[in-house]
Symmetry: C2
Subunit: 329 residues, 2 copies
DNA sequence: TCCATTTGTTTGAACGATCCAATACTGCCT
DNA sequence: AGGCAGTATTGGATCGTTCAAACAAATGGA
């Protein structure tokens, strides 16, 4: 190896000053065509890469985006987080950003971690995944003027910050419409208790699709905590009552339970999230566009960080999920 | 906010020089007790945190560990990678390290990425997850003297680098012994084709446990590609032949398939990896100690990076997985 | 008493990039 | 020819930390 290649090495090789090399990289318009070519050639030849630490020390920006990775298997975790993370990493790289992970136990602890990360690493931005009602984290970040994006809408609260989310209602609506098109008329819904933004939203899509098709949704829904057992019990209950021929569920866990219910005739079931479980048991499920969501998060952040705040482009992105058809429905 | 707190701020506040503050942090034994107390108090009061970029520029070390996150849902990905990542992040933090993600398409591309990451970010080390026969990556890293640990043994190749792995044979052996203790005598095994280190290793545990209990394993095994359909077919095949009363499988996918096989009498099935799928369908499965594995990776790396190479402690860690008992076996 | 040794602390320089202000070089107008 | 605006390039200072070496004070032995 020829030792470290610094901006000085390049400058010497291209017969220009350090500053000119820096300009070629950061303000190309200031440099004459011919000079720029010479410098770029030298960079190529020497395999020069700007040292981030030095750049960061001067500019105060690290080109690092932090994402929390959670311990438990709930929320986005345990099923689709890795796909989201992969999407983030892949989208961030071409924009010159990298993803750094951190953990935290509880919101207060997470805020302490922010402080630490910001002071030690000069992080440029955060991506938050599991936002909830009255989230102290978004408040703190906003107060401290730290750029961030949430994957998930700020349910209830005014949306003062950029966010990306998946239109759950559109997903359950598509699932319901698909079942209607297949001839089903009594389509049930198994979802979570009223009050969770995500849960209410997914229920809404089913309800709207039923009404739009002039079908009566009354008596066809159950709201329970997430889980296979709960799904099974609810399905059993619905089948004994209103007798649906198909079920739309707010999660794959509920859907899996529904599939287990004893029914006279086969019941079509559609889950939500397209987790590995759905793939394994060939469950039709509403799949979130995770790669696209991640790319949108990066794009919003990049826009924020590059100071495009004045541009009128939207700070919010709502993406459509799509039904992944398998054997169950 | 009182602006940035640097080492100079602390030095001034504690009435000492910058270097003394630095010594308190990096070489405490050089500083007198009383002075150290004064400096630590100042650090506490001011909320000082060392700036990593500046430290990195001087020392050439970033305290950053890179991990590749893969796109596809195979290998460690898609099921347990997020738990491993969480473990890494959690174990790294107290040791003063952070986890950075990167992606790559293929080994060659990954090596190019190493070059990039090392030059731009001065990464301290890498953790590789899906090692395979004749892995070009380990060779490259070793040649360039980059510290790294693999999660997975270097099957076949001489183990010139530190690694952490889970003893698959011990896992299938425990599963087999458990079935034997439950009264089973004809216990089958469904695994992957001969030639994959991990697959052969998992098969070995079943085989050894059978022999140790004086049970004849002949005719009781099938080797097929991974997948639910393959698992089902193999199970069906075995049941029609040697007629096992229990099955040990090399993966949860195979086990799920095996559960689907039509059998006269109920067949006990044990899978491998304790994926979300196993949890969802209540499949007994051999669970890998992922948090512990991750912690071991960090420990080995920290040892490498802190220059403890002379110490005679082992460079290899083999951890025991354990059967997570559920309804299926 | 004096020098050698140890212990504790301070000073100046350096890491590699960018920002700033000053300078050299154009071409153009009067 | 001289002046002037605009462009291209230069050297020096700077970010916050650690390294290397110098310095000061305390200790110990002959």
């Amino acid at each position: 190896m020829s030792g470290k290649v610094t901006i000085a090495t390049v400058a010497h090789h291209a017969q220009v000053s350090r500053q000119t090399v820096s300009n070629v990289l950061n303000s190309p318009h200031l440099v004459r065509e011919e000079t720029r070519g010479r410098v770029l050639a030298a960079i190529e030849t020497l395999g020069y890469r700007a040292n981030q630490a030095a750049r960061q020390m001067r500019t105060g920006r690290s080109r690092l985006i932090a994402v929390r990775i959670e311990p438990a298997n709930d929320g986005i975790n345990g099923s689709i987080l890795d796909r989201f993370l992969h999407g983030l990493t892949e989208a961030a790289a071409p924009a010159g950003y990298r993803i750094m992970l951190y953990t935290a136990t509880g919101d207060d602890n997470e805020i302490a971690t922010y402080d630490d990360l910001l002071a030690s690493y000069d992080l440029d931005a955060f991506v938050l995944t599991s936002t909830h009602h009255g989230d102290a984290r978004t408040t703190w970040l906003a107060e401290h003027d730290i750029p961030f994006v949430t994957f998930g809408r700020p349910w209830g609260a005014p949306d003062r910050h950029p966010w990306v989310d998946v239109d759950g209602a559109a997903g359950t609506a598509e699932a319901t419409e698909r079942l209607i098109a297949a001839g089903h008329r009594r389509i049930g819904f198994i979802g979570w208790p009223t009050g969770s933004g995500v849960g209410d939203n997914r229920r809404e899509g089913w309800y709207a699709a039923m009404r739009a098709a002039d079908l009566d949704p009354s008596g066809l829904e159950r709201r329970v905590d997430d889980g296979v057992a709960e799904g099974r019990r609810s399905a059993q209950d619905l089948l004994a009552g209103a007798g649906p021929t198909a079920l739309v569920c707010a999660s794959d866990s509920l859907a899996l339970g529904a599939l287990r219910a004893d029914a006279r005739a086969p019941v079509a079931v559609i889950g939500f999230d397209d987790t590995p479980v759905a793939q394994a048991i060939s469950l039709t499920s509403v799949g979130q566009p995770l790669a696209e969501s991640a790319a949108s998060c990066v794009e919003l952040l990049a826009r924020l960080l590059d100071g495009d705040t004045h541009s009128g482009r939207p700070q919010h992105v709502l993406l459509r999920p799509h039904v992944v058809v398998r054997d169950s429905g």
